[in-house]
């Protein structure tokens, strides 16, 4: 099956897919009557042209790393976890409960507990669909979709009826105590004397996301569990023959996946909003699908794809500001096209590229 050299598989094909997606998006911009080149310039300038831009871009990227890793790890066990949105929302709830529980003295004390809170809540939300898949054969895609809606209803209920500040109209919790406020990039880089935009939301959760990238890489390619996960993903029957329990692998993969999605709350809830608001996830759970597909489920690829989507998100907001005719929903279209070309229409690109390489191989031999 090795018809493609490795570099073509991991770099060439994703790049072709991305170029196709951007080309089609460019056509949409043309149709609206704007100049696509100009649009890309504004987008890039808004996203990476200033420390403020970088601060937002990497903040969004942090969210996407968490959700992208979550989708990736499930993909390795051939499980399609489409419930990142709900798991991240419930993870945010866990982070909020920890942050509001006591008057934390210092963020460094609060952070480990908040990490546990976010991961446990996210994992718990993934546990039920995982169990139903593993024991009752319920299709995990459908159950995780359903759990996204249930999570959203649950959060609205909690924020409107239970966790709201008494007397306030806004459906959100009280602001977290000062001792949970994570240092942002301005402060952290300030320790080293590097100037950075003061108001950008990039915070220390970005480093946590990087640690998670390394952790997931080590888990998948350097541990026995990771091997079992991949083996199960390649062939369930072979894995069972090798003594790997499908139940165990399904549960573990989904728990880790949900836990990673839940950690997004550290960035969005604890790091940025510093309170729990309705819809703290804002679609990042779904962006994670595009990020995982684009990044070929490899942590490095996920990181790069997450930064790319961070650029698109932040740049898209700036673009709407500069050219109101191109609304920020443009990013949804690009996201859809990336998912379409890298996921669903993959064979459309792959087959011709494979043929090209085979022809070259024949000629050289």
């Amino acid at each position: 099956m090795d018809t493609l050299p490795r570099w073509a598989d991991v770099i060439l094909i994703p790049v072709i897919n991305l170029v196709l997606a951007l080309l089609v998006s460019g056509l949409v911009v043309l149709y609206i009557g704007e100049n696509p080149i100009e649009a890309i310039k504004i987008l890039l300038n808004g996203a990476i042209g200033s420390t403020r831009g970088w601060g937002y871009t990497l903040y969004f990227a942090t969210n996407f790393i968490f959700t992208g890793l979550a989708v990736s790890i499930a993909f390795h066990a051939r499980l399609f976890n489409i419930g990142g949105e709900g798991q991240a929302a419930i993870g945010g709830l866990g982070v909020a409960l920890v942050s509001l529980s006591i008057n934390w003295p210092h963020w460094a004390v609060a952070l480990p507990f908040a990490i546990i809170g976010g991961a446990v809540f996210g994992a718990a939300w993934a546990a039920i669909p995982a169990y139903l898949q593993a024991r009752r054969g319920s299709h995990i895609v459908i159950t995780t979709i359903m759990f996204n809606f249930i999570a959203s209803a649950l959060l609205v209920y909690l924020l409107v009826n239970v966790m709201k500040v008494p007397g306030s109209m806004a459906p959100e919790t009280a602001a977290f105590p000062k001792g949970t406020n994570l240092p942002n990039a301005y402060q952290v880089l300030g320790w080293f004397g590097i100037p950075f935009n003061k108001f950008a939301p990039l915070n220390i959760a970005f480093l946590l996301a990087l640690v998670c990238c390394v952790g997931v890489w080590a888990l998948i390619w350097r541990t026995r569990l990771g091997y079992q996960l991949r083996a199960y993903g390649h062939s369930e029957s072979a894995a069972v023959y090798a003594g790997i329990s499908p139940f165990r692998i399904t549960m573990i993969a989904m728990l880790i996946s949900g836990g990673l999605a839940g950690l997004m709350g550290i960035n969005a809830v604890m790091g940025e909003a510093e309170r729990l608001v309705i819809d703290s996830v804002q679609g990042a759970g779904f962006v994670g699908i595009a990020v995982a597909l684009m990044g070929r489920s490899h942590p490095l690829g996920v990181f790069l794809a997450a930064v790319l989507f961070g650029i698109l998100t932040q740049g898209g907001i700036e673009l709407e500001f500069e050219i109101p005719a191109v609304s920020r929903e443009m990013i949804l279209v690009i996201q859809a096209l990336v998912i379409l070309f890298t996921g669903a229409l993959e064979n459309m690109v792959r087959a011709p590229v494979e043929r090209l390489f085979q022809r070259r191989k024949k000629r050289s031999s």
Binding site: F147, L154, Y157, I289, M330
Partner: protein
Amino acid sequence: MDYQVILQILDSTLRLATPLLLACLAGLFSERAGIFDIGLEGKMLIAAFFSAAIAATTGSVWIGLFAGISASVALAMLHGLASITFRGDQLISGVAINFLAAGLTVLISEDWFQQGGRTPQLAGAARFNPIDLPFADTFSVVPILGPIYKEVISGHTILVYAALLAVPLTWYVLFRTRFGLRLRAVGENPGAVDTAGISVTRLRYTAVVICGILCGLAGAYLATGFAAGFVKEMSAGRGFIALAALIFAKWRPWQALGATLLFGLLDALGTRYQNIEVIGFNVPVQFMQALPYILTVVILAGFVGKAIPPRAGGAPYVKER
């Protein structure tokens, strides 16, 4: 609760169930043919936009309906291209279609109308207007049944009646025609259908296009019958509720009617009452909203009758080489 209130709730149940029913039957055709479709939501949304936009610009709801159905079928063909021709992942393709519709509808509506992702309000011939069934007023004096006929059954737009008619029609097509038999066979065992000399590809494309047409009707109803114009994200998860109803109904048309009416009733109750008292318990509206999803998970879990999807669903068909 007096009788008039019950009638009003049943009336809005029927209104709210209609888009669910159409989308559910759409999914039924597609999934019975072995093509999973989680892109019902996106197809509804794009049909809602184009039907309202074209109805607003031409002033004719029928041209709008045609435009909505065309847009929905275009997305359905894209799904077919990805999942039948290129043998891609049907679930991923569905996800992509949902985002594509969510993005394109707002982008294009901003470009055409500059009203924050809305179309202009529709009125008169640009909308489907309620039809009074014959003798609705004459019969209304008949106790109990008269008001039901007048308030609940009469006075809907033509698409509501079309949706109700689509149920027996779907049943007939699927279970009483040769085409239906083949369609169901291709969802269970495409290899056997292929061996019999019938094109799997063609059957599946046909199913996907029927799915697109029905989703188009559902979306057009939302924007030109139920509401008077398109609003951004107006499908609001209905495509997923329809998917839930499809599982709830175990991929059968009459049960689909039952499931969508039940989910429509939940929606109607949730819209009317913010809190409902049930035997001393205060049931919050959010629970009512989540109930269709919870019920579906329970059904999927197989604790209350097992829902078994068509066997070849989700798998692209590869002819033997």
